[in-house]
Amino acid sequence: MKAKVYVTLKKSIADPQGNAIQNALRKLGYTNVEEVRIGKLIELDLGDITADEANAQLVKMCEGLLANTVIEEYKFELC
């Protein structure tokens, strides 16, 4: 079972990296760019487990290790 986890900063938290890239893009002429936010994409191969098991594992992994829910939120999908 393979999965993709998306970890992003919570909306209320500033994203300095995103801001800097937004400024860079605007300077390069993409003046239409209104916001950039940078997160993590984590691709996992979970081996031979069921979708239910995978879902259960992923929640725990995200809460425990992959995201720090103090500042980040996460989403995942099986694929």
């Binding site: 800097a20 890239i21 300077k27």
Partner: protein, 262 residues
């Protein structure tokens, strides 16, 4: 002979390069703001270390678009000297002026240390005053100094003698222990270690001096000054630097003298 040190937003070894050239070597040097359009009058351009644009997204990714980079390209194309140190190296690879890429250190940590390097070639304007195979100690300070390049390019680089420095004990996982490389024409050098941090006895290390002296020798032998004059001038510079740094230490000096008499 005039050096120029480019200042990007977030550069922070710019002052170190500036002072190494000015105080330790007694040569002319100017800061160049990233927004500048031309580089007339400069013989060697230094892209210093630091965190240009915060190194956000990827190290050097944004700096490569700075206005000054067109001028750096022109300067390099004209065969003049360019050296990128640490972040400067990353910028040069991002800009395509040097092959390969620099990724996260294998241990995923920033590493600040002084490490032994092997001088792989003296056949560049940056290393002529070292001895081939010589081991020198130079500080490193980077989180992404793990050099990567595709096999074909690597092969060509080796054939061409483009691998300039290698690590004796690979600190970051770099391919083939590579610490510094140059372009085919050998007038553009990129290296992760910081020679500008090894130019004064008071800092406990002068192994970086000969890199800058090699550059000066290369530029000055190109110009009308005779080889003899170069040597004299060099000796003069040396004395001055020995005077300016608080303790004089002869080791690097005698080595260099020997080399000049070779």
């Amino acid at each position: 002979m005039k050096f120029g040190v480019i200042v990007f937003p977030g550069s922070n070894c710019d002052i170190d390069c500036f002072h190494a050239v000015k105080d330790a070597l007694g040569h002319e040097v100017e800061y160049i703001w990233h927004d500048t359009e031309e580089l007339d009058g400069f013989d060697c351009i230094i892209l210093p270390g630091g965190f240009s644009y915060g190194d956000y997204l990827r190290c050097g990714a944004v700096a490569r678009f700075a206005r000054i980079m067109d001028a750096v390209r022109t300067h390099a194309a004209a065969g003049k000297l360019v050296i990128g140190i640490c972040n400067g190296f990353q910028i040069l690879t991002e800009a395509g002026l040097l092959p390969g890429a620099l990724v996260r250190n294998k241990n995923l940590k920033f590493i600040c240390d002084t490490v032994p390097l092997r001088v792989e070639t003296t056949d560049t304007p940056f290393t002529s005053l070292y001895k081939k195979g010589e081991i020198i100690n130079i500080p490193i300070a980077h989180g992404e100094g793990n050099y990567l390049v595709d096999e074909d390019t690597l092969k060509k680089m080796k054939e061409n003698g483009q691998i300039v420095f290698t690590y004796v004990d690979n600190p970051n996982g770099s391919m083939e222990n590579i610490a510094g490389v140059c372009n085919e024409q050998k007038n553009v050098l990129g290296m992760m270690p910081h020679p500008e941090r090894a130019c004064e006895e008071i800092l406990g290390n002068t192994d970086g001096l000969r890199l800058f002296e090699s550059i000066i020798a290369a530029v000055e032998s190109e110009s009308v000054i005779s080889a003899q004059a170069v040597k004299n001038r060099h000796t003069g510079t040396r004395r001055k630097s020995a005077m300016e740094t608080s303790r004089s230490k002869p080791i690097a000096f005698t080595q260099k003298e020997e080399l000049l008499h070779d």
